[in-house]
């Protein structure tokens, strides 16, 4: 086999693995948007706090990794609930753009709170997970693990939304906010549950990302923009669209980064995004009206 093909194949596989994690990230954001109609601009910063949580639990307090993961998921979930109760709930009646800007304020706050509390050093878990070698390709276990956990998380959320009573109520709220209140659904409670779930997904994402990347106060800015691109490209609130968009953009980044620098992968992804805005402004999977 030609040597270039091996690299291309490796890039394609890494793209799929990256796509799984990005899909998980966009799932939480999409869930919150679909149900509450709010975009959490600070979503990536919640993940950043989760990554710090993992770092302190595992490195400083020597908590075993799986237990730290559970604490982290629950902790960020609670943060999601607090965010909703403190910032979003008072603004539910305001113009949607105000809610978006308020979470922008939370982004500033969380970033600088992390800077003040933890400093700007890069920290990592110091874990060295082995690298899997398939013929000439190298694929890291941490990516495989992240991909597997992301898929598992998505399946769990899917089962929760489709099989449980609460999940059904949440989907119903997403379809019609006004009517469901008349049907006896407590929308305030559903919003809090959704925020907790969205935060929990951010926590799960944090556990997976911290295995591969260093954590620092501005780490959110490195994957935040791509996350919003995925959600808009898939159609805000459209779970399946977000999934497809995550894999498409991840492949572009991964393959584009193979031939040029990683930043160019991002530039191509952005360019692709703008072209798609012309072609399918309602999202990849939207039906044309």
């Amino acid at each position: 086999m030609d040597i270039l093909d091996i690299y291309l194949l490796e890039a394609l596989i890494n793209g799929i693995l990256l796509g799984g994690v990005l899909a998980l990230l966009s799932l939480g954001l999409n869930l919150v948007f679909g149900v509450i109609d709010v975009v959490w601009i600070c979503y990536a910063e919640l993940i950043m706090l989760g990554m710090y949580g993992m770092y302190f639990l595992y490195v400083v307090y020597q908590v075993p990794l799986p237990a730290a993961g559970v604490v982290c998921i629950v902790g960020v979930g609670i943060l999601g609930v607090v965010l909703h109760a403190l910032v979003i709930a008072p603004l539910l009646g305001a113009a949607p753009i105000n809610q978006l800007l308020a979470t922008g304020g939370v982004l500033f706050f969380l970033q600088s709170a992390a800077t003040v509390m933890f400093g700007i050093e890069f920290r990592n878990l110091g874990l060295r997970l082995p690298v899997l070698q398939v013929s000439e390709m190298f694929i890291s276990y941490s990516r495989l693990l992240a991909f597997g956990a992301a898929l598992g998380g998505m399946v769990l959320v899917y089962l929760f939304l489709s099989r449980t009573y609460t999940g059904t109520a949440i989907r119903a709220i997403a379809q019609d906010r006004e009517i469901m209140a008349l049907m006896g659904v407590n929308s305030r409670r559903m919003y809090l549950i959704t925020s907790g779930l969205g935060g929990g997904l951010a926590g799960l994402a944090a556990c997976l990302l911290v295995l591969q990347y260093d954590v620092h106060p501005f780490v959110g800015l490195s994957f935040g923009p791509i996350l919003f691109l995925i959600c808009v490209l898939g159609g805000l609130g459209n779970f399946a669209g977000g999934l497809v968009a995550a894999f498409v953009l991840a492949e572009i980044i991964s393959v584009g980064g193979l031939y040029l620098d990683l930043e160019w992968g991002y530039v191509f992804a952005f360019a692709f995004f703008i072209v798609m805005m012309f072609l399918r402004p309602e999202g990849l999977l939207a039906r044309r009206s």
Binding site: A94, P96, V106, T115, V116, L221, G224, V232, M277
Partner: protein
Amino acid sequence: MTVVLGWIAGAALVALPFVYSAPYPLHILVVILIWAFAYTSWSVMGRFRLVSLGHGGFMGVGAYVTALLWNHGGVTPWIGIPAALLAAGLLAAVVAYPCFRFRIVGHYFALVTLALSGIVLQVIIATRDHTGGSLGYTPERYQGGDSLYALQFSSKTTWYLIALGVWAAGLYIWHRVDRSMLRYALEAISEDEDAAAAAGVHVTAEKLKITVLSAMMTALAGALYCQYQMFVSPETVSGIAVSLQMVFAVVVGGIYVSLGPTVGAIITILLAETLRISFGTAAVGWDNLVYGVLLVVFIIFLPKGISGSLLDLWRMRSPALVRRTPAEPAPGPVTGRGN
């Protein structure tokens, strides 16, 4: 009465550096004026509920195109700045046209423009061989850094007068827009696009006009900032942080009042400087911490910003001064929700 007061204030501002010219306060004033102009540029479109988070990108284009043309092509900023403004206007049109044509509004528009500022940041970093990447970029000094041809001045007073002039021009544009048919068209659009279109407003064209105007003004702010500081880095003039900072300052200062963005610039820059001077490096991060909390508190409790709320108070106390209502949407449930 207000006109006379305005002329007196203007004359005082022009005379200021000749009476008092300590370098540090003058430097702070220049920075405040340049950012106030940038924030005014954002609010020119932001007040019509066209919330762009891409203005960091336009500012970056203004700064880098001017500096790159000067360093690599030897093109004087007198040509470089118009070229940069054209580039920013073109970029704004390319991104905004599909948005407006296909009715991408509200959340979607904010996120698409957010992506735009991300693109500009990544392109600057990716082309690090020419732009210096994250390390920043310096326009080459010409004749000891004091030349009209290269738009480089060592005297702070000169820069103060330039920044003052540009800032005043920004306010003038704000007022021209405020008194134009464009404003009425855009207000109608921000209330209800379908109804506006039915009433004969060309929705896409009107939105495109204000967006391109706003983007070009922002690019000018970026170019001026670069020429004044003689150094730009991707983080200071482009990217999401700068875009959010613009929104923050305008919301705090007051989005529907012409001097609102200026009030926002004064507050944010004085806050950052005070924290920096009183706490030194221990204050790293604290200014943004305060900004973040203030932004949330303002949006929840004082959505009209400081100057807007003060103006309301003033009007309540002296009803004789009530003239026409300023350009702010009627209270109550928002129609034409953006999605």
